[in-house]
Amino acid sequence: MKKYKFSWNDDIYLIHVQFDTNSLDALENKDIVLNRVFFDENSESETKTITNNGFRFIVSRSCPEEKYVEIIYDENVYMKLFIIDDRAYYPTFTYYEG
């Protein structure tokens, strides 16, 4: 599985993450795990299932105590991460790919 850690800061509270794959049917694991890790090292986990190529959703920092979000996804999935300043916008500038 691939793992990417995104740390929140005073300017960035929102991101989009998008997942692409050549063949959704061939994926062993369509689940994406989001671990929200807090400054006290406690964490909360949630799972989303990729339903289509280009599957994209928004992730918002949940509270000031949330330090970073860790995104875990299948080796055969390609993730793009976008930073958002305004939730009404659909970002196209990629901050991270891999």
């Binding site: 509270y13 929102l14 928004i58 918002s60 920092r61 949940s62 509270c63 000031p64 300043d85 305004d86 939730r87 009404a88 916008y89």
Partner: protein, 184 residues
Amino acid sequence: MFKSAYYLSEEAVKNIIEVCDIFAISIKAMDEEYYKEFTKGTLPPVLKAAKLVYESGKHLEISNLVVTDLTNNEQSYNKMIDFIVDELDCSVPLHFTRFHPDYKYTAVEKTPLEDVVNAVSLAKKRGLKHAYTGNVFADDSINTYCTECGALLVKRYGLTATIQANLKNDGTCANCGCFNDFDL
């Protein structure tokens, strides 16, 4: 839920009212010249649409973009508040939303938080029950407080909203009993 700048024909608005329950209408400015210059549209159809939604009884919220050096002034805020007070009613939520520089309009900075907070203060002074800032992630101005006693009812942080013990299921404040227009 339908969020839109609402530059639509009356027929389209009536059709959408039939199939949506919640409407968030973005009024860019209460200024016809602004609409012509920056949106290439016109203001009257937007206001007419807002009134149609309001009269339908569906849930309606209005947002108003506050642009640095353009509409971040008391005159603009008052025009927006006038519309709510005169044409809708004071229980309709109003969001003064921060602009951020993008695309073809990048010469000015993101609207200062202080400006939208001032707009909210003015709206509340003029009797609006539910005025908020928009495009603000963490500030008291995005929370909901009881309109009577000031008790915190909904705490917000970014896209997370947490209903507080003070807000009862019937929409009243547990502290003072005031109804705060919630339908939980």
